[in-house]
Amino acid sequence: MSGPEERSVEINGFACRVWEKGIGEPLGVLPGIGGAPRWTPFMEALSGTRRVVVPSLPGFPGALGHDILDSHLDWMIVAHELLVGAGLDGADLVGISVGGAVAADAAAIWPAFVRRLVLISPYGLFDEDDPGVDPFAVRPPDIGQCLSANADAYGAVFGVPENRDRVEWLVTLSRAQEAAARILWPLGDTRLARRLHRVRVPTLLLWGDRDRVIPRSYADKFVAGIGGETRIRTISDAGHLADIDQPAAASAAIREFLD
């Protein structure tokens, strides 16, 4: 597959990478924990019918500037600027994991900003009685096992490429972990529950059936909280990052929802 076109949007003086591929209506994708160090099979599959636009939030691969963002308001303002800069104002939006928390909040805070919403195992809520596995208390060699149920697929996205500097690649992944933690620490509860009712657009919730990080029970909490029409689809043999683990099934479910 050929790679995406790359440009950048400047946020607070830092260049944030935007990848783009495909034709048709724009479809934004905010990646999950670890970000997008590579163009993924999931993005590729979606780009068959849509113009897929993948902006990198500060600190995630392709973007710096996370360490000046101190509050959730800081992060949401930056997310808004980035999505607007990427041409996604009013577009359909897919948010995965940490990107799901941001996407859901964008739809809640600015109701006309997101057309339809897809959330794949989103962060944002926390249930003391069902906390899930903490991916921030896992050593780097074990993080793949924690986030993914498909080691080969995970390795194909996050493994060190042969032609790249190993140290810098691992530093980039480490920085992405930090950026996610900066948004989510310690529980992943961004107080989204207070605003979730303001999400009134059609919303699809996708969940890996082997997600240990955000348990399946959270899907029901999102459905109960969201003010608009919702549906839940479970992806078989997928962990927390269902887009990485099962790109064909995840993208097919999204196409069906959006078409």
């Binding site: 050593r139 930090e178 900066r182 620490w185």
Partner: protein, 414 residues
């Protein structure tokens, strides 16, 4: 050389199967293992040991802060420091220290330390660690990515609160304070000495040099672990144009002294093996949190194929035997002359003028700890305490009120 007596306050009754059947000594340690009535005894033994150390002539007593921790029963070292300020007369009281980012507002640290400095008549040393990921990020929920920024800002608030004479406002990233005006204020002017314990991030070393603070290499892994860090500190000291005064650095060492080497092995085998096997039985996932290490540290450690870094070693100890513990230099053990020779060698090699000794460790009981402490004070200390004293001035030691002006606890007749 200044010789200090450091207490970790370990829970001394972790079970024999602790390694096999328990997840971690830190963060999620099983609360059913804690017996408050046994802890009553332990705390009182620990106070006896600290006070005894001060009585037999150690230059200072030293306490630190840990949370959710089976080998460190001091969530608040200030409580212990305050009691020690009353129970001792001349020893320095080193609070090493308060993890500044945990206190909101950080003025709490400025106030409590000022109290201890007043109670002790100016004998307190202020220690400001960033704190381990276990304590700060996992136990206390601080965001690892903002921890250092919060720490540095908290430091600025505290130092200004101590230094400035007028009420002032502080409008920081993390702290907004309209009226900063702490009461009480420290005896020592412009402020108590500041010592920074750390793992050795270059940013921290440079910051210590720039601020003219003492840097303390604290690890449970002896000379070899400290050498690289203190070498880097020497380079930063040179780069900052400061003199290589040994009193600007500190070093922590486990020590076991007895009349003979064989006797020392016999006495200290169990507490040493208890410490390394049980007290350092730590789930590795808690030894780092995303953003806790600086990016330059991460880059350096990945390049050196040491992805875990300093504290990560805590989770990978296994259960070493005494012979390994001594061989690796974690514990300096033997008869008094042997111990004095080795400590002198270490201090000279590392150019360290503040030696923090751990003479109680693991499940060592009070009588054994006091034996170790007494023998050290009588037979080891005289051989090493003169080190560096003629050549260098200690600019980072407390400057208390004159002895005749200080008051002592008075019993009031009923």
């Amino acid at each position: 050389m200044k010789v200090l007596w450091f207490h970790l306050m370990p829970y001394t009754e972790l079970p024999d199967d602790f390694r096999d059947n328990h997840h971690s000594v830190w963060v999620d340690i099983d609360s059913t293992l804690f017996d408050p009535q046994r802890a009553h005894q332990m705390y009182n033994d620990f106070f006896d040991e600290l006070e005894f150390a001060a009585d037999v002539g150690f230059d200072g007593v030293c306490v630190n802060e840990h949370h959710n921790n089976g080998y460190g029963l001091m969530p608040s070292p200030n409580l212990v420091g305050s009691a020690l300020a009353r129970a001792t007369t001349d020893a320095a009281i080193l609070i090493l220290g308060n993890s500044l980012a945990l206190y909101n507002p950080p003025l709490r640290v400025a106030e409590e330390m000022a109290m201890i400095d007043c109670i002790s008549g100016g004998r307190m040393i202020a220690g400001f660690p960033i704190g381990t990921p276990m304590d700060t990020c996992f136990a206390y929920g601080q965001n690892p990515s903002t921890l250092r920024q919060r720490y540095l800002e908290a430091h600025d608030v505290i130092m200004r609160a101590w230094r400035e004479e007028d009420v002032f406002s502080f409008n920081g990233r993390f702290n907004q304070l309209r009226y900063v005006n702490i009461w009480p204020r420290p005896v020592q002017k412009p402020h108590p000495p500041v010592w920074i314990p750390g793992g050795g991030a270059n940013e921290t070393l440079r910051w210590c040099v720039d601020n003219d603070y003492v840097f303390c290499a604290l690890s449970y892994f002896g000379y070899d672990a400290a050498q690289g860090v203190l070498d880097a500190y020497k380079r930063e000291t040179d780069a900052g144009g400061k003199e290589q005064n040994p009193f600007r650095s500190g070093y922590l060492q486990f020590v076991g002294v007895a009349e003979t080497h064989a006797e020392a092995e016999r006495i200290y085998r169990e507490p040493a093996e208890y410490f390394y096997a049980r007290c350092l039985h730590l789930y590795p996932g808690f030894t780092d949190a995303p953003g806790y290490r600086t990016e330059s540290t991460i880059r350096r450690q990945i390049a050196a194929a040491r992805p875990g870094g300093g504290v990560a070693a805590l989770g990978t100890m296994g259960a070493p035997k005494l012979e390994d513990i001594v061989e690796r230099g974690y514990l300096v053990l033997g008869e008094p002359d042997e111990v004095a020779d080795r400590l002198r060698e270490i201090a000279e090699d590392l150019n360290v003028g503040n030696l923090m000794t751990l003479l109680q460790f693991g499940n060592m009981d009070r009588d054994t700890a006091n034996y170790n402490t007494h023998l050290f004070a009588q037979r080891v200390m005289p051989q090493i305490s003169g080190l560096f004293e003629d050549e260098w001035e200690h600019h980072w030691w407390p400057n208390p009120m004159p002895r005749q002006k200080r008051t002592l606890p008075q019993a009031v007749a009923v």
